[in-house]
Every structure is written in structure tokens, then in C-alpha cells.
Amino acid sequence: MKTTESGRLDGAGRTASTPLDTDTSPEVVYFSSVSGNTRRFIERLDLPAVRIPLRPRIEGELQVSRPFVLVVPTYGGGHRSTAVPKQVIGFLNDPVNRGLLRGVITAGNTNFGEDYCLAGTVISDKCQVPELYRFELLGTERDVHRVREGLSTFWHDHHATTPLEEYA
């Protein structure tokens, strides 16, 4: 796992209150509530990742500095305005974070019918980035495998077409 110089960031979900520098800002940013369902998916993914703080007022806001894919759970119940966790809205309201968002992966439950993974649709609409993948609850082994392989290809293609200076 990568860590920041101050050692405050790791894949298990600790966060930094100052902007992450470009060497350590990971390509996966995620949110997970106290249930920890999405965190478990990220742990199995085994890629460097940073967690959006659950309590930003206490833990500090997260600001990233390199392009990233967002992994986010849907708060189910069929209300578009509340489908995206408010901490994720706060994170994306920062124009720096929003500008570096390249895609969204969403956790949900098909029991919510048309609103399955609604958070991904809302973020994709608002930020004009692709919805890359959807999975249910903790995700299956197949989901973990597909996302790991898929992200590898996605970043390879992305880095091949984006000059480094555009990351700033």
C-alpha cells in the first residue's frame, strides 16, 4: 500500500486533511458508510485507494491531485436527491476533485429496481464521466476480478492519451 509522507493515507481507509500530492494521490477514491460494505470491496480489490471521510468536519476534507475513479454505494429508496451519500456530494463540490474524476463504479442492490445503482447515474449525469461498472452489495469474486482488470486497461488507455501536464 502507498502512504503519504506523513503516513496518513493507506488502503484501509485513513484520510488526509491536506491535499494529497501527485505522487501519492491514488487512482481509486471511495466512500463507505459505517456498514463498511464498500470498504470490503476495496480491500479485496487490493489497489491503492483513499476513503472519503465519513465525518469531514472532524476528520478534514479530502482533496486529491491526480485523476481517479470513484467507487460509491447507492443510498437506496428511490429518491434521486438522496441517492448519493452527502459526503460524496461534499467531496465532488470541490472543483479540483470534480475536475480529476474520470469514471464512477457503483454498488447497489437490484431489489431497488429502476433505482439500482442510482448514485452512479446521478454522478455520471452531473460530472459527465462514464459509469464503468455496477456491482451488488459487497461484490462477488467475479466483480473484484473484472474491476481490477478493467481499471488496469482503463488507466493504460487513459495515460496513453492524456499528457502528464494535464494532470495538474
Partner: protein, 344 residues
């Protein structure tokens, strides 16, 4: 006598107080009313709000629009529908009157106690809703026959009694496992049928009602599973392992029973293979709610795409950008949301 704003609160009184379910173990303790202004687990409030926002009643669903479709169905299909729905009613009755209520005594917070009362009521609404379908579509005589079938069906009785045994047992975590498996595994062979009919444009209003039930079940399963995991964290390694083994064993027993019970119902219509896949898919989701890995491999849980689309139109491969050619991913249409916080 009025208190001045500075008067100290008798904190020891609050600290030593208990909620009403504790009367059974300590009748002398002072009782505390529920205080929603002091929430200690934010999930309790979040789930309460979701449950109340999702509230519905069967009277809101225009079930009578299904009468023409019902009249076109074969006698075999009608009998199957009656039996499947009576079976669902049985399970929701167990859940409303025992399954949810029995978890109140194990609550970790006073708000959790309140959430179970809400879930129990909603399960009673679900049990009530199948009766609405019956009274809309069929006759008293046919209804009575279906209920007699349910009471006389050994497998249906055994499915219920297997979970009831744990509801009345002495381990709070086994209660939660049994409850989650009922809500997220046992019901789904029944839910399959209205989804199957809706694919063929039959009983579509009934299917809409089932979708409302499915939405509720997702929240119920999530909440029980969440509280299960919080409880499990407090147990020793040995106890955790015992519960894990118990969970997979109970799942296996219920799954075998399910194949027997549903096999007898669905095999005559040639649907059982499809139903079994749907049950395995939902068994895996039940385990995930409890925080455990899937029991069945991906190849055995590939739900018929038509059924999956009837459940959730967004669950198709269009949302797997990674597996496609790379040109077919979905970008949203840029509609506005109404929440002002969400204005960039």
C-alpha cells in the same frame, strides 16, 4: 415547580435507566422513554428514514387491472399463483409476528428497538398485500383451498419451523442469521413467479406490488445484516467461527428444503431450473448482507436476463464498460437534480 436553565440534569438517573424490553430481566430498573434526539448509531436514524420514505399500502396498487390477465391464465397457472402467494403470506406472517419482534430484545440501541417495530408492521403489510391480490382476482372458495394447501404442506411447514426454532432460541446472532436468510433467501422462489409473469405481460400490476415488497426487503436485509455484524464483532474468535459454520449449515438446509418445496410447485411448468438459479443468486446476497462471502459460484447464479430486467432494468451488461468493446459505456444525460447541495 419549574427548573432554571442551569439546573443540573440528574445524569445518573439516565445512565442507570433501561428501555421497556429490559423489564423482563430487571423489573426494579427505572424506565427511559426513547430519545430520537440522542442517536448513538447513525444507521438507526438513516434506516428509519428510508423505511418511512418507502412506506406504501396495497390499496395504492391498481390490482383490478390484472383481472383480464387472470382470466386468460390456465387453471394450472392460477393454482400455482395461489399456492406461491399463500406460501409468501406464511413467511411474512412468521416474520411480522415473531421474526422481527424477537429481535427487539437483542437491540443494541433504543432506536433499533423502534426500527424493528417499523419493519414488523411492514412485513404485516406484505402479508396483507397477497390477500388483496386474492380478493381482487379470485373467489372465497379458491382462497380457502389455497390456505388449506399451505397448512397441509409439510415442506412449507418445515421451512417456517426451522427459522422459528432459532427465533425462540437463546442466541441473538442466530436469530439474526435466521431472519436474514428468511428475508433474503426463502422468499425469492415465490417472488420469481410474478416477475416471470410480468415478462410475459401478465399480472403486471401484481408484479409492481411485488417490486415494492422487494425494495422493502432489501432495506430489512441490510439492517439485520448490519446489526448482525456489529454483534459479531463483540464475540470471541471461537464464537465467531461457530456462528460462521452455523450460517453456512443453515443456508444449506434451507436451500435443500427450498429445492424440494419449489420443485413440487414449479417443475410441472418447467420453470424449476430458472427458479433455482434465482434462489442461489439471492442466497449469495443474503450472505453478503451478513458480511460473508458467496456460497455459490458465479456460473450457478446467472439469473435469466429477462427476469433480471423485470427486477431491475439497469442490471444489464450495458453497465459493464470493462467487459464491452470499450465504446458502449453510458454517460448520463445531464438532467438536473433537485437537491440544492448538489449544485456544482
Amino acid at each position: 415547580m419549574s427548573l432554571s436553565p442551569e439546573a443540573p440534569v440528574a445524569e445518573h438517573l439516565l445512565r442507570d435507566s433501561v428501555t421497556p424490553p429490559s423489564y423482563r430481566i430487571d423489573p426494579a430498573a427505572r424506565l427511559r422513554p426513547i430519545n430520537w434526539n440522542r442517536v448513538t448509531d447513525e444507521k438507526d436514524l438513516e434506516v428509519w428514514n428510508r423505511l418511512t420514505a418507502n412506506f406504501w399500502l396495497p390499496e395504492k396498487v391498481p390490482l383490478s387491472n390484472d383481472i383480464p390477465a387472470w382470466q386468460r391464465m390456465s387453471q394450472e397457472e392460477r393454482t400455482l399463483t395461489m399456492r406461491v402467494f399463500t406460501g409468501l403470506t406464511m413467511l411474512d406472517t412468521v416474520q411480522a409476528t415473531v421474526g422481527e419482534i424477537s429481535q427487539i430484545q437483542d437491540a443494541r440501541t433504543e432506536h433499533e428497538e423502534a426500527v424493528y417495530t417499523n419493519i414488523a408492521f411492514m412485513q404485516a403489510v406484505h402479508a396483507r398485500s397477497y390477500s388483496s391480490v386474492f380478493s381482487t382476482l379470485t373467489s372465497t372458495r379458491e382462497i380457502d383451498e389455497a390456505y388449506a394447501w399451505a397448512v397441509g404442506n409439510d415442506q412449507l411447514q418445515e421451512r417456517c419451523k426451522k427459522v422459528l426454532h432459532h427465533y425462540y432460541g437463546d442466541d441473538p446472532l442466530k436469530r439474526k442469521v435466521a431472519s436474514t436468510l428468511l428475508s433474503s433467501l426463502l422468499l425469492y422462489a415465490g417472488f420469481y413467479l410474478p416477475l416471470h409473469f410480468s415478462v410475459h405481460a401478465t399480472l403486471t400490476n401484481t408484479a409492481d406490488m411485488i417490486r415494492l415488497i422487494l425494495r422493502d426487503k432489501a432495506v430489512h436485509g441490510y439492517y439485520s445484516g448490519y446489526k448482525f455484524q456489529r454483534g459479531l464483532e463483540t464475540r470471541s474468535r471461537e464464537e465467531q467461527e461457530e456462528i460462521r459454520v452455523f450460517t453456512y449449515e443453515l443456508l444449506e438446509e434451507l436451500y435443500e428444503l427450498e429445492l424440494d418445496y419449489s420443485g413440487a410447485l414449479y417443475e410441472p411448468l418447467g420453470l424449476m431450473e430458472d427458479v433455482a438459479v434465482f434462489v442461489r443468486y439471492n442466497a449469495n446476497k443474503a450472505l453478503m448482507n451478513l458480511g460473508y462471502p458467496a456460497r455459490f459460484p458465479a456460473e450457478e447464479t446467472e439469473v435469466n436476463p429477462e427476469i433480471l430486467a423485470a427486477l431491475s432494468p439497469g442490471a444489464d451488461e450495458n453497465h459493464d464498460f470493462f467487459s464491452g468493446s470499450g465504446s458502449s459505456y453510458v454517460i448520463g444525460k445531464g438532467e438536473d437534480t433537485t437537491d440544492s447541495d448538489w449544485a456544482f
